[in-house]
Amino acid sequence: MLPRNLQAEQFAGYPPEAKTLAVANLRALQQLPLSFLPGLLRELIEYDFKFPAERTAIEKELANLSSLSEAQINQWFQSFAQLTLSSKLEHFDWINRPAQFFEQESAYLWTTHQLDAFRKAATDYGDRLRSTMSIEPLPIPRLGIAVIGQGVTTYDGSLFRKLRQYGTYFAQVKPESGLDLLLAAVATRAKAHPVPYGHWYVDGGQEANHSQLLTCVRYQALEPVRTALLRYMQTEIEKPGMGPEELRTNLARLSPSSLGMSPAGDAVLDRFQVKLLTEGSGTQIFSTTFAQWATREALRRAQPVTLLVRFAPRQRQRPMNELLSAGHDQPNLDFIGSLIDADMGAYYHWINQQRLAGAERSSFLVWFEGHNQALAIAPSLPHGAASSSAIDLGSLLSLVTS
């Protein structure tokens, strides 16, 4: 089936709000090429469980598409329309299974050497779409904070190497009550500028005391969910004929309740957390990967104005000879490896933050927990500079956000 044959009743399987939105924009959807439309439906079908920023983006995109004339649609989507897809893809149930279609389309584009053309078409479309969208002013400039190196006593290596060119390195930070000061500052922002899902605290381990105004995701609290997921995956793998595509499809269908999460929870946040575990690679096993991916996904999807992530030590990857030996001890922790993971995670945090609107006014702070090294990036701070002045984290944060 092709998009031009779309009918309103074909969205019957969509959640209520998504269905309403699809039907209201049916005419626009009918005009889109098949190489593009399922990508849009993949977002739309999840509309009821999206964060406010995502909902707004989908609404604006659909409104823009509906406002285009047929000639404009042809112009906007010419590059997508030139891609050729297989009849197998055309006959796929892309309305109800857009994510699965998208995976198969991706494989097909790779195989037929059309991926680069798709990439260019997608990038051009994104640029064009952004140029039409009004950007709402942020209530407060965006702030990112990364706390890395929990539990590390000494480290001789150089930290923040990738970030130094963008900010100021502080070598004499007073570490006392550092985490408390940072969390208190984040809570103050949340109280002064209440935005739904606007202020986040991600912890790669056991969370510290924090304000209930923060949207909190923590690795340790998800242990029962991770265990249930790994058990489910193991069962699926052992089924005859199970391959990666089928497994991914099955994982995508998992709901919070199917993994033992309480139905009384926050449906949007719970679904977000399940996706971190079912769509992320390594998030089920390594806490550092979980914290990095959660940060990236929170920024990409919820676009918070405040995000503090605290990395915790991950389990040590045991070398082959150790695993082959008879011992079955619980894996211990890799503190230094986790610090290196988190240092890179902080860099990615900053990159992902800078992709969002208001980047020119946003600021960022990364601190080596319990130690006196930090790096701050802010419009008011020099790039590639270093400071040896003694300063506590509360004052440093004030400097960053001033």
Partner: protein, 392 residues
Amino acid sequence: MTARSTSRQIPAANPKEIASRLGRSRRDFLRDAAGMALGTTLMGASPFVWGQAAKKRKVIVITFGGGARDQETFAPEGQENIPHLLRELIPQSSFFTQVANQGILGHYVATASLATGVYETLNNFSATPPEHPTVFEYFRKDMKRPPSDAWVVAPSNGFNRIGESECRSYGPGLGARVVLPKHLLSAVTSKGTTDYEHLLRDNYETPLYAPQLGGGEFELRQLETILKLSVEDFRAHALTLSSPDELSVYIAKRLMQQESPSLLWITMHDIDIAHSGAYSLYIDAIQRTDRLCAEIWKTVQNEPEYAGNTTLLILPDFGRDADEDPGGNGFQHHRTGDAASRTTWMMALGAGTRQGVVYDRPLQSIDLVPSLGAMMGFSPALAQGKSIQELL
């Protein structure tokens, strides 16, 4: 696939510019650090005698995998991770700064493409032979070589069909012997010890799937008949190794000692631990692979069958996603198809190569097989790449 990213992109140059820049930065570094000459100034001054080398010529190919980026290897901040390549191997090498992979960026399909000289389109996660003849088939058929003269040491079960294609005029019986060290390890280790199962898993790209073995894989009983290694000795030695690639190199060295194949292909894979998202493990694996490459070159010098007549080629199957590409997650994957994930390098050292020369013209990874054909004297009729003249 990057798809419908609505996030703001950090401005970037076009892919060709990026690929060229990557190549230039590798060239500039090598010229400064290792005193290497630009290859264009040396063309036409072949330093080796092809006729004498051809008879005994041996070639070892190492894929520096699975996938490493410039910033963790040849860029200034990454050089600390590859001391052996920089100090020991590159000064002896012809170094090609721009090798592009225009095919599918999955490790099995990309390695199959390297081995056939055609961008293969097989399912990366299935136990499928390449569609086109492999370099091993060309070599064995044209040169009338026995099965023992072409070997592949591959990281995991998914590579067990890489030795020979399904091409009717080549195919079964003409390919390479394939040894899968992790498969051997699994076979000699008693059931129930599950701690190391993740080491034996097939593929970091999808750690949950291992295809059924089939085809001409190395049989366990051949541990003793070919490698002259008892199960007990193999198991005991495995206990001294820290990673699957160390096991692969151990097996490769045994093969060199016992079988002395003329064409040996070693696929490294530890680096692909990057898919777990742990940057420190990715870096550790690059450092280990760097060390193992030097170890193989040292073995070449110490083995009478190889010393003086062996060409070693080292190249990644592809790179990894750039930090700046919003469709990816930096080093973790190779999914975007951006320039960083497609542009790599190659070094060639030993018999028939010029030492200390950098070439920065763009090549393709499928150029490898025609070049091997020209070096070893066989005709890869169906390969689509072009022979690299600088290696001839």
